[in-house]
C-alpha cells in the first residue's frame, strides 16, 4: 500500500501518493497543470517546462518533481501563467507552425495551449529556422518544422527489441529529431499511428491517411485543453 501525502495547490488541499509526480497528483485532485512533453506512466523528460510550478518557493517542473508532505504548490499565479504563455509563444517562434495547413489542427496540444492562454501575437521575434522534412520512411512523414523536442517519440516508440526508432541529433541550435531509417522501414501501421497520436504537435504524420477526422470535430475544437481534468472533480 502506498503512503499518502497531503499538499496544497493554490491553497486547495490535495492528497496524493508518495513519490507521485506533482502533475499527476494534481490531475487526480482536479487541478490541471499544462504539459506538452509529459505522458502519464512514461518516464518523464522534463523538457518542455510548460508545467513549471512553484513548490515551496522554488520553480520546478511538475512532471519531474514528486509531491512531498506539506508541499505548498503555486500553479495558477499571474507569474506562472505568464511564463507558460511565454513558453507557448516561444515554441511558435522557434519552429515553423502553420496551423491552417496542419493535419493535427484541432488535435494539437500546442495549438490548444495557444488558445487556452489567448496568445495573439508572440512577444518574441520569429527565428525562421530552416528545418528539413524527412519523408523517406514508408509509414510516416517527419515534419521537423513543427517539432517541439518533447521526446515523447524518443521515449515511447521502440522496435520489438527495444531499440530506438527516434532520437535527438546535434545540440543547441543544431538540435533536431532524427529517425532510424532501417528500423522505421519495419514499422507497423499501429506503431505509426501510435507515434502520430503521442506527438503533441504535427511533427509525426502517417502517410496515406489524412484528415480522417473532420476539422471541427476534433479533440480541442469544442473543449479547452485541460477542461476534462478540471470538470471531473468539480
Amino acid at each position: 500500500m502506498s503512503e499518502t501525502v497531503k499538499f496544497t495547490i493554490d491553497g486547495k488541499e490535495c492528497i496524493g501518493k508518495k513519490g507521485q509526480y506533482i502533475v499527476d497528483a494534481a490531475a487526480e485532485n482536479g487541478v490541471y497543470i499544462p504539459v506538452l512533453c509529459h505522458m502519464k506512466d512514461v518516464i518523464p523528460a522534463g523538457s518542455c517546462r510548460v508545467c513549471t510550478v512553484k513548490a515551496n518557493g522554488r520553480n520546478m517542473a511538475a512532471c519531474t518533481s514528486p509531491v512531498e508532505e506539506g508541499m505548498s504548490i503555486e500553479n495558477n499565479t499571474a507569474e506562472l501563467l505568464d511564463i507558460r504563455k511565454a513558453i507557448v509563444e516561444m515554441l511558435f517562434v522557434e519552429g515553423n507552425h502553420f496551423c491552417p495547413a496542419c493535419e493535427k489542427s484541432g488535435n494539437c496540444d500546442l495549438q490548444a495551449l495557444g488558445y487556452k492562454y489567448q496568445m495573439m501575437v508572440p512577444r518574441f521575434p520569429y527565428v525562421f529556422e530552416r528545418r528539413n522534412i524527412d519523408a523517406t520512411t514508408p509509414k510516416i512523414f517527419l515534419e521537423r518544422n513543427r517539432c517541439i523536442f518533447c521526446k515523447r517519440c524518443v521515449r515511447m516508440i521502440k522496435d520489438a527489441e527495444g531499440r530506438s526508432i527516434f532520437a535527438f541529433k546535434g545540440r543547441g541550435e543544431t538540435l533536431e529529431i532524427n529517425i532510424d531509417h532501417k528500423l522505421a522501414a519495419n514499422m507497423t501501421d499501429e506503431m505509426a499511428q501510435l507515434a502520430m497520436d503521442i506527438c503533441p504537435v504535427g511533427a509525426i504524420l502517417r502517410k496515406e491517411v489524412g484528415f480522417n477526422e473532420a476539422i471541427g470535430t476534433r479533440k480541442y475544437d469544442k473543449k479547452v485543453i485541460g477542461s476534462d481534468i478540471e470538470n471531473n472533480h468539480q
Partner: protein
C-alpha cells in the same frame, strides 16, 4: 572497415556504455564517424543507428564528415580573441586558401573553431590532432602550415616545451603552467600518500567528519559542502562510485589543467580517500578531450600509484580496494554539470538529468556516486594529512581554505594563483598587474560581469563565488560586442537542447544582443532581454540555463549606459536588414550586397 570497427567495439567489451571511447577511437582512426561506421557500430552493439548518431552529434570533436589529416581546432573564446585570434585565423585561411569550417582540397588540413580549450593564459591557442599549440602568431602559423605541408608528425611540430611536467618526455608539450602563486592547500610541496594512509587508519565515518569539519566546499563553483555530499552518498546501499569532474569548460578556467599536470597523484589520492569514505571500489576521472595531451602522464601516474600500493587491491595493506580509469569527453561544455557528466561517461548525450534523484543517490550506472572537482579532491588529500582545524583556519569563516584562480585577459601576469578565500578584486588586480580595467568577469560567462565600483568585493562563496575563472577586461574592449555577444554565442551552441526553454531562449537572447551590437536595437529590447532572461532562469533544469543569461543581465545591471548608447529610444524600429537579407542572392549574381543606407 567493418572488421576493424568490430575489433574496436570488442575491445570495449561490446558495451554500449563505452560508446564515447568507441567513437573516439573510430574518429582517430578514420578522421570521422561516417554513416558506414555508425552502421557498423550500431550492428555490433545491437542498438539503433540513431542512438549512435545522437551521441556522436552531441560532441564537437566527433564529426560525420572526414576532417583533414591535420584537424586544426582554433579557440575562439573571449580571451583568445583579446589576444589576437582574428589575425591567427586570418593567417591560417590565407596560408591554406580555405575558410574555417572547410578542408583543403587535398584533404590535408581542415580548420575548425572551438570553445575555450583551457589555455586562456597563453592564447591564441589551437589543438591540432590532440597536440596543443599556444601563443600563436602569424609567423608561427606560417611555420605550422609549412610543417603540415611537409607531412611532419604533429608531435615533431612542437619545438619548445613548457615547464614542470609539460617538459616530461612522455608529455613533451609546449603548454606552460604559469603558476604565479602557490598556496598552502593545493600547490604547496606535496608528498603522495600521507593523507591516504591517515584516512585508512580511521573509520570511514571519521574521514567524512574530518572533511565536514574542515569546511571544504566544492571547488567547481557551486560551493556545496563536500563532506555533506559524501555523507549523503555513504548512507545509500549497494555499490558506490567516485567521479572526478575534470571537464573544466567554463571559458577562462585552466587551473585544473595545471593541477592535473603537477598534482595528478594528489587528485587520485583525494579520489581514493573519497572512495574509502563512501565505500566505493571504482573511480572515474572524466577528463575533457582538450586535455588529451596529458593522457600518457595521467596513466603513468596511475601505474606508479598502483606499484606503490596506493591504488589497486589491499591498498597500504588495509584491505581497501580501489582503482581509477580515465574517461575522455569529446567537446561539450554542459558535461561539466555533474549529472550530464555521468550520462556522458555512460556513453550517452551529455544531457543533465532531472532530479531527484541526485547523483549521491543514483549516479553512475544508477548507483550512488560522488562527483567532485579536481581541486576539491586535492584539498581533501591535504586536509586528511594536515587536519580539519588547520584547513578551517585558512580563508574566511564561510569559505575555508584556498581557491586556485585562473586569471587571464588584460593583465601583465596571467596564470594560476592559489589564494586564501577572501581577497578583494582590487587586491587581485594589483597582484596580476592590471590597470585601466573596465570590468572583471568573475566565474566565467555563467558568473557576473563586475564593474569597478564593486572591486572592493571579496572572492569568497559568501560574496563572489567562483570556480576559478577570472577574466580581466580592459577599457579598450567593446564589452557588449567582444564579451557579451561572444558568451551568448557560446551558450547558444553549448545548450544541450533538452529543455526547450534553454535551447530557444539562448538563441533568442543571442539574436537580441546581436541586434543591439549591430545598432538595430531600441530601448524596449533591453527590457525584453531582462524579462526573457528571467523566464529562462526560472524554467530550466540545470545550471547552464539558470546562468546562461548572466552575461546579459549582469551587464544591463552594471553597465547600462553601454546599452543606452547603442539603442534608439523609439517605439519601433525594424530589425530587418536589407543588405543582410540579400547577401546570398547577391553572391549568386556577383553583385555587392551593400544596397543603401
Amino acid at each position: 572497415m567493418k572488421e576493424k570497427i568490430s575489433r574496436i567495439v570488442e575491445n570495449f567489451g561490446n558495451d554500449a556504455a563505452r560508446l564515447m571511447d568507441i567513437l573516439s577511437e573510430v574518429q582517430s582512426e578514420y578522421g570521422c564517424v561516417s554513416c558506414e561506421a555508425v552502421s557498423a557500430i550500431a550492428e555490433n552493439l545491437h542498438i539503433s543507428e540513431v542512438d549512435v548518431i545522437q551521441t556522436r552529434s552531441f560532441y564537437h570533436f566527433f564529426t560525420e564528415e572526414q576532417v583533414g589529416k591535420y584537424a586544426v581546432y582554433l579557440n575562439n573564446s573571449v580571451v583568445s580573441c583579446m589576444n589576437g585570434m582574428s589575425d591567427v585565423a586570418d593567417e591560417f585561411q590565407k596560408q591554406l586558401g580555405v575558410k574555417f569550417g572547410q578542408k583543403t582540397a587535398d584533404g590535408l588540413v581542415s580548420l575548425h573553431y572551438t570553445a575555450c580549450i583551457g589555455m586562456s593564459d597563453q592564447e591564441p591557442a589551437a589543438i591540432i590532432n590532440d597536440v596543443v599549440f599556444t601563443s600563436l602568431t602569424r609567423n608561427k602559423v606560417a611555420k605550422l602550415v609549412a610543417d603540415m605541408r611537409a607531412g611532419k608528425a604533429v608531435n615533431d611540430m612542437v619545438t619548445e616545451f613548457g615547464d614542470g611536467n609539460n617538459a616530461n618526455p612522455i608529455v613533451r608539450s609546449m603548454v606552460k603552467n604559469n603558476i604565479m602563486k602557490t598556496g598552502p592547500v593545493v600547490l604547496d610541496a606535496y608528498e603522495v600518500g600521507l593523507g591516504l594512509s591517515k584516512a585508512l587508519g580511521m573509520d570511514s565515518k571519521a574521514v567524512i567528519k574530518e572533511v565536514l569539519d574542515s569546511g571544504l566546499r566544492g571547488r567547481g563553483g557551486a560551493g556545496f559542502p563536500t563532506g555533506m555530499k559524501w555523507e549523503f552518498c555513504s548512507r545509500e546501499a549497494g555499490d558506490h562510485y567516485v567521479m572526478c569532474n575534470a571537464d573544466e569548460g567554463e571559458p577562462g578556467t585552466f587551473k585544473d589543467r595545471v593541477l592535473l599536470t603537477e598534482r595528478a597523484s594528489m587528485v587520485f589520492e583525494g579520489m581514493a580517500i573519497g572512495a574509502y569514505a563512501i565505500g566505493a571500489k571504482e573511480g572515474v576521472l572524466y577528463l575533457r578531450r582538450e586535455y588529451k595531451y596529458m593522457k600518457a602522464l595521467l596513466e603513468n601516474v596511475l601505474t606508479e600509484m598502483r606499484s606503490e600500493n596506493l591504488l589497486g587491491n589491499n591498498i597500504l595493506g588495509k584491505g581497501f580496494n580501489f582503482d581509477i580509469r580515465v574517461q575522455f569527453g569529446a567537446g561539450a561544455y554542459v558535461c561539466g554539470e555533474e549529472s550530464a557528466l555521468i550520462e556522458s561517461a555512460e556513453g550517452k548525450r551529455g544531457e543533465p538529468r532531472n532530479r531527484p534523484p541526485f547523483p549521491a543517490q543514483k549516479g553512475y550506472k544508477g548507483k550512488p556516486t560522488i562527483v567532485n572537482n579536481v581541486e576539491t579532491f586535492c584539498a581533501a588529500a591535504r586536509i586528511l594529512d594536515r587536519g580539519a582545524a588547520w584547513h578551517k583556519a585558512i580563508g574566511t569563516p564561510e569559505s575555508s581554505g584556498t581557491k586556485v584562480l585562473s586569471i587571464s585577459g588584460d593583465c601583465n601576469a596571467p596564470g594560476v594563483y592559489e589564494l586564501p578565500w577572501g581577497m578583494s578584486i582590487s587586491e587581485m588586480l594589483t597582484m596580476v598587474g592590471a590597470s585601466d580595467v573596465q570590468a572583471v568577469q568573475v566565474a566565467g560567462p555563467s558568473g557576473i560581469c563586475l564593474p569597478p565600483a564593486q572591486f572592493d568585493r571579496k572572492i569568497a562563496l559568501e560574496d563572489l563565488p567562483t570556480g576559478g575563472s577570472m577574466i580581466v577586461i580592459g577599457n579598450k574592449r567593446d564589452l557588449l560586442k567582444d564579451v557579451v555577444l561572444n558568451f551568448m554565442e557560446f551558450f547558444a551552441d553549448e545548450s544541450c537542447g533538452s529543455c526547450v526553454t534553454c535551447r530557444s531562449f539562448n538563441m533568442i537572447l543571442k539574436n537580441s544582443i546581436e541586434k543591439v551590437v549591430e545598432g538595430h536595437g531600441i530601448t524596449k529590447d533591453i527590457d525584453d532581454m531582462s524579462a526573457w532572461s528571467e523566464i529562462l532562469r526560472k524554467t530550466t533544469r540545470c545550471g547552464l540555463g539558470q546562468t546562461s543569461s548572466n552575461p546579459i543581465t549582469t551587464t544591463i545591471k552594471n553597465f547600462r549606459p553601454l546599452y543606452d548608447a547603442r539603442v534608439k529610444n523609439v517605439e519601433y524600429q525594424s530589425d530587418f536588414d536589407m543588405s543582410k537579407a540579400v547577401v546570398e542572392s547577391c553572391a549568386v549574381v556577383g553583385r555587392s550586397a551593400e544596397i543603401h543606407e
